[in-house]
Subunit: 216 residues, 2 copies
């Protein structure tokens, strides 16, 4: 079985926006976008959301998407801006990601950056910092995944790089019924990908429209 590269639970607005302009990202506002929770609150409402602390939550369609997050995943690749809000050389090595002492990845994670720093582990997650083109980083992640698939975590510019290099096998993009008008945009329209991907458009009772792409 081939090792897939998969985008999962990536959230955008109906106008394709996943984050605010680069300079708007801060420690208190990871997405740099006022109202960003309207993009991802659907996931938090499900029973399988990894950060859930109480026993409730829905177990319908949206829950299938959140509980698939770890299915057969052996590594993640993410851009530096998903990892943190610092830019340029690492001034604060104490910064170890947004996720606290138990990151939800539980696999090796490859953070793409021109500014290297030593690897470290938090619980079951190990962060590696790598400077390479998408194909090179994917090869590293595949080896670390030991036969399992690799998740491409985002953000927008990282996904665009891997799309441009034609390295992504499947994408799940959750489109929320909100418009932001400005910010970092994944696409003008999901139709841009139809020359390369099949697409199932699946409206959820939560108001989200799940877009499920897989290679033709």
């Amino acid at each position: 079985m081939a090792q897939l590269l998969k985008v999962q639970n990536f959230n955008v607005s109906s106008d394709g926006i996943a984050a605010g302009p680069d300079e708007h990202q801060t420690l208190d506002n990871p997405f740099g976008l006022p109202g960003a929770e309207r993009l991802f609150s659907w996931a938090g409402a499900t029973a399988s959301w990894p950060n859930r602390t109480d026993p409730g939550g829905s177990r319908g369609l949206d829950d299938y998407l959140t509980r698939d997050f770890t299915h057969n995943i052996g590594a993640e690749i993410m851009g530096r801006n998903k990892f943190g809000h610092q830019r340029g050389p690492w001034l604060d090595h104490q910064w170890r990601g947004w996720w606290g002492d138990e990151p939800p990845f539980r696999t090796p994670v490859f953070v793409m950056t021109h500014h290297l720093r030593p690897s470290y582990s938090l619980a079951d997650t190990t962060f590696h910092f790598v400077d390479g083109d998408p194909a090179t980083v994917l090869a590293q992640a595949r080896e670390a995944a030991q036969g399992k698939d690799v998740r491409l975590g985002g953000g927008v510019s990282t996904i665009r790089q891997f799309l441009d290099a034609d390295l992504i096998d499947t994408l799940h993009v959750a489109v929320a019924p909100v418009e932001f008008g400005a910010g970092r945009s994944l696409w003008k329209s999901p139709d841009e990908l139809l020359d390369r991907y099949h697409l199932d458009v699946v409206p959820s009772p939560s108001g989200i429209t799940h877009h499920l792409f897989w290679r033709r």
Copy 2:
């Protein structure tokens, strides 16, 4: 986390029929229903279908349902008619289920029958034959599942028994766009369950309408 009892990938026609009349089940016709493949062909078209032998298959909505089949499942319960076509005392102990030498369950499987026989293993699956009411069999399966969830595999009369005993936590029922008119029916309408369950109705581009129930 509670151990759920889950029905997954259970296929019925638009008039609720999952199998032919009891006496129509034979070795060559496990469902006892001409055209039964129209109920489950959607699953065989997906990349994650356990019996798939070639590398193709869709990776859209339907594939989320098939690849969820094994997610956190530690045991299965099934009725005797799902296990085989024999009725009454076991005349043929050579019969070891419909699934060949590598059954797709890969967990302990509890077959409900008044006619006991010794347990046996095929690859990663062990079949146990148990005579008890639904609550008793569920307790056995939960213990065997070692903290994971339990799948209730069917058929119709087994699911009805567990619904009557109010033991099922979630159900995924795939409704196919075909009518059979006669046979063993799960329901007159999915609405019968709405007093006890939430329901997401999710039409798939394949023509199947997935019904996802979870307890209120």
